[in-house]
Amino acid sequence: MSSPPPRLPPGSNEAEPGAGQTGPPDDELVSRTQAGDPSAFDELVVRHQRRVYKVIFNMTHNHEDTNDLLMETFTRAYQGIHSYKEQAAFYTWLYRIAVNRTLNFLQKRKHDFHNVSMDDEETNLHERHEFIDPSQKSVTEQERLKLLQKKLNESLMKLSEEHRAVVTLFDIENFSHAEIARIVGVSEGTVRSRLHYAHKQLQKLLKNFL
């Protein structure tokens, strides 16, 4: 397995979502939206929808929930566009809405999930027993990778919502510590601490497969 992709420096233009796309910068589109031009916001939606989707999906692992949260994120952003200040980048502000909405949703779902029936628990248990061990030599490499991804998803879901958010933003979306700190609304030290703890937990959960 090759080494992970190099981390881009904080504030790097390449790390910025939507970088490389043609058209006016985000701030100009925000100003036009604030001035009453809804088509400018449409352009912002098209520009950021994929990455916002990925962030939400990697926290929920459910397409339907992701779709709803994505719509909610853009709706909230449009409603609150006048409160946006240009002190931070627009995408930081947008991702902050997405992460907060998703965290709230996951907290609520966790509360509801405690009321799961015993039947569901037993079904899940059977599914776990049927899970094939990816470390077995008999399975092909493609199957092994597929199962490894499945095991990784399961392990990610065992992390707390806050730790999962940090891992998603850092390891999957390539945000810097400083950007994550602004998005999640905690200090950089907290981000590093959460990231280290999450990596350790994942390493432990996947020790037989890595």
Partner: protein, 158 residues
């Protein structure tokens, strides 16, 4: 943190960045967003209770009730609820129509004469006597029995 090497883990995590839905899904996001925004702008239809209340107000000119203070409104509502409850209770009571009423199923009471086990001769002139003197063995003794008595008054013709 040097003892931990998370390279393999991070490599595995970075592969998740490629997991994306088809382009068709993203092509439809803007349209779906506009549709939801339009739906949010349409005011919600009033519920049935509100509609029923509005029709009541229009039909019976209940405007006075809306102008009452909250305390009086609750009192009015309580009185109305009591009236409705009493009305419902009255409707649920059994209605006797001839011998086919609800109570018709119960056993009919025996006629009054059934309580008299030994009939006494009745004369024009009678007194009330204690029943024990008349029917000692009666299972259901009435409080009194009518029986013939010897005239006690003597009328003298002048």
């Amino acid at each position: 943190m040097a003892e931990e090497n998370f390279d393999k883990l991070r490599q595995l995590l970075s592969q998740k960045a490629d997991n994306m839905p088809h382009d068709a899904y993203f092509d439809g996001i803007l349209g779906e967003l506009h549709r939801r925004q339009r739906a949010a702008m349409i005011p919600a239809a009033p519920n049935r209770w509100r509609q029923a209340w509005n029709s009541l107000v229009e039909t019976f000119n209940f405007d006075f009730a809306l102008n009452l203070s909250p305390g009086y409104r609750y009192a009015t509502a309580a009185v109305a609820a009591c009236a409705l409850g009493l009305g419902a209770w009255g409707v649920s009571l059994p209605v006797q129509t001839g011998s086919q009423g609800t109570l018709a199923s119960t056993a009919p009471l025996p006629p009054a004469t059934a309580y008299i086990t030994s009939a006494a001769p009745v004369d024009d002139n009678f007194d009330v006597l204690p029943t024990t003197e008349v029917t000692a063995a009666s299972p259901q003794q009435p409080h009194y029995m009518l029986t013939a008595a010897t005239p006690t008054d003597t009328y003298v013709a002048f």
